[in-house]
Amino acid sequence: MSQTTVIPAATAELPTPPDRAHFLSGTAPRWCPGCGCFGVLKSLTATYARLGVPRERLVTISGIGCTSRLPYYTGTYGFHTLHGRAPSVALGVKLVNPELSVWVISGDGDALAIGTNHTLHLLRRNPDIKMLLLNNQIYGLTKGQASPTSPLGLVTRSTPYGVADAPINPVNLALAAGASFVARVADTNGAMMEEVFAAAHAHRGVAFVEVLLNCVTFHDGAYAMITDKDTRDEYALAMCPGQPLLYGKQQRKVLVADNGRILALPLAEGEAVPDQALRHDPQAGDAGLAQQLALMGPPDLPCALGIFRQVQAPVYGLDPKPD
């Protein structure tokens, strides 16, 4: 343990059981009414309350953007750093004091435009840090320019004739970077957020969670097909480890692989799940299939939600150096 770290024998009093309010700072959030960030703040602080980690050992670190304002609203230690650079700062924090639970909050511009380099190397190194990417497919704080996740053709303030370059798929990229825990959740599903955030915390190593986030002001409805009540059965697939990949009304569609390609197979009434159905395995030997699942999305295939990958790997800064 580092000499600098003051972990007092008796930590500050924790209300028993700690409630979410204990992990809020009391500063009123300044997001637009209806912004998806409110839901994330709620689920994150609810998760904090469940972890059993005293408030002073939690560190919430962000870059710059609407989403990066989040640390101000938590009651933990926090650092609102520079645009794109939160992963670097977080790594410094964690390496000198491995007892801290370090959470990076980032936006799609923050993590995948200016900060791509740091995001990728954080994931590659596998420190025990949790990173949430709040992906609203737009630059919110600067008032609506295209981001690297904006879909082709989107008209924004910086692309009056539509976005001309293909978007990044954050989950696929995180998997390519070798991240040991990768998940995707939607801002509308508080229960799944809490569950996945808690699993991320429990995971020993880096955890990357993409949150599909709605920006009501500059890109409203970006994920409507995936989150709206009417369409989500068709376009959202919640993955369960060990289970076949089922979705659709009454889970009557299943994914199969065909010479490396993924296809959706409708099941006839009463038909059992066929043998060749793909089974979800977050611990597969390599991330190849997870990468294929990450690429799926409306209108042809459903968007996969949940944990794509969760494997054990040497943890940077914790496990002994190879010798």
Binding site: V6, Y72, L82, V96
Partner: protein, 627 residues
């Protein structure tokens, strides 16, 4: 002890029996595969073990591996050794050891008139001469007549000495460096036991190579004793001060920087965290730190310089002494993060080992041209302290001082070194931990009514509560902060007050400085003023000029921002001030703005350090023009 040493001419060894020299500058040179650096380092260590003051400077080829025998592939190692008063690796060479024609050709311009050359005659083949671009053989065409040349069949003699050992031709050829070392060690008698011991250790696993090196060394030594060339060994005067107890080592500037960081953190009772990214000539700082197994010494090789400083800022936020080391191009990338450290008020040491710029510039040449960048290379009003190291060993002291300031004032500090300090070396006794100054920390203990921007009334430092400390949870960041609470604040008056406060905090650092000390007396007509690696040349030039009766003194600045309170006064005491820099006048410009004084300047932007003689000459001319 002899306070002032003029450069002495080397006596003609044919004529003189025994002689004690004040100092000597020896240069080993050969192909980059010839083991030149090793021979030079060993010679320097032996000199230092003998109690001499030593300064060294290597000379690497610019390319990783140039073709053998070409001018591009020449490697050199210069050693200046003597009694006190040695402050540079030497203007010119007294004795050159050249293991091939290219080494001779490259270094001859640096040899003093009447200087000695010991060369490996067996390497002066037609092929090698052609590779070096010699039209004829300099040993035969009289072109070396101004020097005292001693051709020795080093190659042949080494081969002979090693006969019977199971060695490749390459290994045999490579052993020539120890022959040369042996010869030079006979000439300037050295306790050779140390060499023997080192060989045993280094080649414990390869006894055949151990034997080879022993034999080559002996052969060289014996050659000195036997050959008729040199009548007797020469002695170099010893600096008795060096005999104080302690471990002495030949330390490069970069090694001293790394050591300084480690010892500062230890003295303060903190972890050290350095985030780095390789860049010439700073890479060794991070490499040195990577060797520590101490869990409180962290070296993190980042994906770029931005991440390097970012991680160091994170570490500082978490309660460690944060540091990063880089060179100009890296510093240019760090401006945004340095600014965050300024407004977040975190203790951070940023080391810039300068090289010739602008842009990629000349990565293997030295310069002092990053000063303005260090002072001003950030947007907005962003004051921070800037320090500079004067000698390789002074890199240690400067980093300790920087760490002291960073922690006491909760501020990032920039330390300027440069390539000539980084690769140059001098003999140095490492101070014990308790010899270091005491460090003030602002670690918060009381949680009650904690305010992250409530200041220490004296230093104006803010408290340092770090994650893990209960009851003091708070958020910092790059947005402007309200006075005490540190909350985000866009108010007009608050912003003005905070800008002033950050300025005052840094300005206040000057209170801690010792009084400005001029070397050579405050009554001198002319003051030579410098900072950084020009120290040695300025100091020796001053001493030489004073010996000649010139009214000259010198002053060297470690603290470049804030400037010492008494500096203006000090400058005004002299009729004229000459600011000497390896740039186009960056400190000169700052001092003009600060003191409105019409200072003189002497600048050299050629990628190489000043020679003592250049300063002496420029000063003499200036003195003539003074009323």
């Amino acid at each position: 002890m002899n306070p002032v040493h003029a450069a002495v001419d080397l006596p003609d060894p044919d004529l003189i029996q025994v002689q004690t020299l004040d100092e000597i500058t020896v240069k080993f040179a050969g192909d980059s595969g010839d083991g030149i650096q090793l021979a030079g380092q060993k010679f320097a260590l032996l000199a230092s073990a003998a109690g001499e003051t030593v300064r060294t400077m290597p000379d690497y080829p610019a390319e990783i591996r140039s073709p053998v025998g070409t001018l591009g592939g020449v490697s050199g190692f210069q050693v200046r050794t003597g009694s006190a008063g040695i402050h540079t690796p030497g203007d010119r060479i007294d004795l050159l050891v050249a293991l091939n024609p290219a080494a001779l050709r490259t270094n001859l311009p640096e040899l003093k008139a009447n200087g000695i050359v010991i060369l490996d005659e067996s390497a002066f083949t037609a092929t090698n001469l052609a590779k070096a671009g010699y039209p004829g053989n300099p040993l035969e065409d009289g072109s070396l007549r101004d020097y005292r040349v001693f051709p020795v069949q080093i190659g042949k003699l080494t081969r002979g000495a090693l006969k019977g050992l199971a060695l490749s031709t390459k290994q045999t050829t490579r052993s020539r460096n120890f022959f040369a070392l042996g010869l030079i060690c006979w000439l300037f008698p050295r306790p050779r036991a140390a060499v023997d011991e080192w060989i045993e250790q280094r080649f414990a696993a390869t006894p055949e190579l151990a034997k080879a090196n022993h034999r080559a060394f002996d052969a060289g030594w014996n050659y000195g004793e036997t050959a008729e060339y040199f009548v007797s060994p020469l002695h170099v005067a010893t600096n008795q001060r060096m005999r104080e107890a302690g471990v002495y080592r030949l330390v490069t500037g970069n090694a001293a920087l790394a050591k300084g960081l480690v010892q500062s953190a230890r003295r303060a009772g903190l972890s050290l965290f350095l985030g780095g990214y390789p860049i010439t000539p700073a890479t060794e700082v991070m490499q040195e730190l990577s060797r520590y197994r101490d869990p409180d010494v962290h070296m993190f090789q980042a994906e770029d310089e931005i991440a390097a400083i970012g991680s160091a800022i994170g570490a500082a936020f978490a309660g460690a002494l944060g540091a990063t080391s880089t060179s100009g191009p890296g510093l240019s990338l760090m401006g945004e993060f340095l600014n965050l450290a300024v407004i977040a008020e975190l203790p951070l040491v940023v080391i810039d080992v300068q090289r010739a710029g602008p842009s990629t510039g000349i990565p293997t040449k030295s310069e002092q041209a990053d000063l303005l960048q260090a002072l001003h290379g950030r947007h907005g009003e962003s004051p921070l302290p800037v320090l500079a190291a004067a000698t390789p060993a002074d890199c240690f002291a400067t980093v300790v001082e920087a760490s002291r300031i960073a922690l006491r004032y909760m501020t990032p500090v920039v330390v300027l070194s440069d390539l000539s300090l980084a690769s140059g070396a001098e003999v140095w006794r490492e101070p014990a931990l308790d010899e270091l100054p005491e460090f003030t920390l602002h670690r918060s203990v009381a949680a009650a009514d904690f305010k992250p921007y409530r200041r220490d009334p004296e230093t104006l430092a803010r408290p340092w509560a770090v994650p893990g400390d209960p009851g003091m949870e708070h958020v910092i960041g790059g947005l402007e902060k309200a006075g005490e609470s540190g909350a985000v604040c866009y108010e007009a008056e608050n912003h003005a007050a905070m800008v002033q406060l950050r300025h005052d905090k840094v300005a206040g650092i000057a209170r801690d400085y010792p009084a400005t000390a001029v070397h050579g007396g405050t009554d001198a007509c002319l003051l030579l003023l410098g900072w950084g690696s020009t120290f040695g040349a300025i100091r020796e030039a001053t001493d030489r000029l004073r010996q000649r009766g010139r009214s000259v003194a010198c002053l060297h600045l470690r603290h470049l921002n804030p400037l010492p309170h008494d500096l203006g006064e000090a400058l005004r005491r002299h009729r004229a001030v000459l600011v000497i820099e390896n740039n186009s006048g960056q400190l000169w410009q700052q001092l003009r703005a600060e003191y409105l004084l019409d200072l003189q300047r002497l600048n050299k932007v050629q990628g190489t350090a000043f020679r003592i003689a250049e300063i002496v000459e420029a000063t003499e001319s200036l003195l003539e023009t003074l009323p």
